[in-house]
């Protein structure tokens, strides 16, 4: 799916907006061979670093959101979703859920809501975790979120959606992509909001229809005369 019907960009062909997939939300891609989420080569069972602990769901009564995970990986590979306990610095991974092509879809898990959360979708190949895509957002209590990732060639892509209303999936309002072009933890202030999935759904700004309420003229600055 291309990302924007787009100009022809010479040096770096720009993907057209992947807007047609109704389930496409915050989309991130990563090349294969990226270091593991924990930066630790010592792998435990399943291919994740041995130091990765399992995430402990919030106790009853605490604000919580429901998290679903779906992955599309080739036979023999696995996928996992990590929650990075230090959401700002992308440190201290905790295993939220995992799956493979041959297993049933992972069961939903509960995670803490109303706090900045950084998730890391990783593909586990040949016993090593790699190809991670990370986002940060603030889950709302009582909402359901879906992380879906897939292996594409040597890399992978993944997105996160608010699926509280299942037939109206939307990108979480504050979601930003933290992994980008070799950077494994883009500072929050520099991370890009990528709500491409809602493009054909459009949005509103001051009561008027717009294509992308988040778009700014920043990329036009080179042409704007003072």
């Amino acid at each position: 799916m291309k990302h924007h019907a787009t100009p022809d960009h010479h040096r770096q062909p720009r993907l057209a907006w992947a807007a047609v997939l109704p389930l496409l939300g915050l989309l991130g891609c990563a090349a294969g061979g990226a270091p593991g989420a924990a930066g630790n080569d010592a792998s435990g069972p399943g291919g994740l670093p041995a130091t990765v602990a399992r995430y402990i769901a919030p106790p009853p009564g605490q604000p919580a959101a429901r998290l679903l995970l779906r992955g599309a990986v080739p036979p023999g590979e696995r996928f996992a979703l990590l929650r990075l306990d230090d959401a700002l610095q992308c440190q201290r991974p905790q295993l939220l859920n995992e799956g493979s092509a041959t297993q049933a879809a992972p069961a939903p898990v509960s995670m803490a809501a109303d706090v900045l959360t950084t998730l890391d979708f990783v593909v586990i190949r040949a016993g090593r975790s790699g190809c991670g895509v990370r986002w940060s957002f603030t889950p709302a209590a009582g909402h359901s979120y879906l992380v879906q990732g897939a292996v594409i060639g040597a890399g992978c892509s993944a997105n996160v959606l608010d699926v509280t209303v299942p037939d109206r999936p939307t990108a979480p309002g504050d979601a930003v992509l933290r992994s980008h072009a070799g950077q494994r933890c883009v500072p929050l202030a520099q991370a890009r909001a990528m709500s491409t999935g809602s493009l054909i759904q459009g949005g509103q700004q001051d009561g008027e229809a717009v294509l992308n309420p988040r778009a700014t003229p920043r990329e036009l600055e080179g042409l704007i005369q003072p």
Binding site: A5, T6, P7, D8, H9, V210, A215, G222
Partner: protein, 244 residues
């Protein structure tokens, strides 16, 4: 069309004057879209609109080609295109097939949330296309995309208006069409069978499991551009003043 350099006409404190001036010419274009008479053949549509569809080339700070797209003439020396065509550019120029010299253009109005930008190019001497209000468009009517996909000058493709995509408030956001578009089509025209502009081709689907799912921002938004541009600039100025 006037040959007077627009920069000259627009120098100084003219942010207010610009939108008004542009609104007038855009409104004239809209009014020109009188109710249907007789459908033109695709060849006739092409002959009518082709002079008004230009290729946009963006250049980086070193003058190297950055990207290409399309633009449609909507007023004297005025062309609309998608803002994403202009992303990261330092210069913009317009070209026509067979013309050796590129025509310099400058960004005059922009509305990033609607992905709609207006270029001023005094060197463009081409007729403005009439705009078709979306209220007069219907699913199933013929639609023709004319643009410069992959740098292939003035490529026409035919299809239908497939659907209207609306936001949660039921406001029109995109006109879906089966007319084929590709990279470089952005900012090109989607026309009805009388050569009136339905919208600007903006989003294409290019996957193995999707065909003929293409989208154009509605021509109505062109009419709103001067007002929305002025409002956004005023809000920016107010925010700056408040932060001092």
């Amino acid at each position: 069309m006037t040959r007077q350099p627009l920069r000259q006409a627009w120098d100084g404190h003219i942010h207010r004057a610009r939108p008004a001036r542009l609104a007038a010419s855009i409104a004239a274009a809209l009014l020109a879209a009188s109710p249907a008479s007789q459908a033109l053949s695709p060849a006739e549509v092409f002959a009518q609109v082709a002079p008004s569809v230009w290729r946009v080339q963006t250049l980086d700070r070193d003058g190297l080609l950055l990207g290409q797209g399309s633009a449609v003439v909507t007023g004297p020396g005025q062309l609309v295109t998608n803002c994403h065509v202009l992303a990261r550019a330092r210069k913009v120029q317009l070209r026509r097939d067979g013309q050796s010299n590129a025509v310099p253009a400058r960004l005059a109005l922009w509305d990033a949330p609607r992905d709609l930008c207006l270029l001023q190019a005094s060197g463009v001497d081409a007729p403005a296309v009439p705009l078709l209000p979306s209220a007069q468009a219907a699913v199933g009517q013929p639609a023709f995309a004319v643009g410069h996909p992959r740098g292939l000058d003035l490529t026409m493709s035919a299809g239908l208006v497939s659907s209207f995509r609306r936001n949660d408030a039921a406001q029109l956001v995109l006109i879906q069409t089966s007319a084929a578009i590709s990279g470089g089509s952005s900012g090109g025209g989607l026309f009805n069978d009388q050569g009136a502009l339905l919208g600007l081709t903006t989003i294409a689907s290019v996957t193995a499991d999707a065909q003929n799912l293409n989208f154009a921002i509605p021509a109505d938004w062109i009419l709103d551009l001067p007002r929305r541009h002025a409002a956004a600039r005023a809000a920016e100025a107010a925010a700056k003043a408040a932060s001092r």
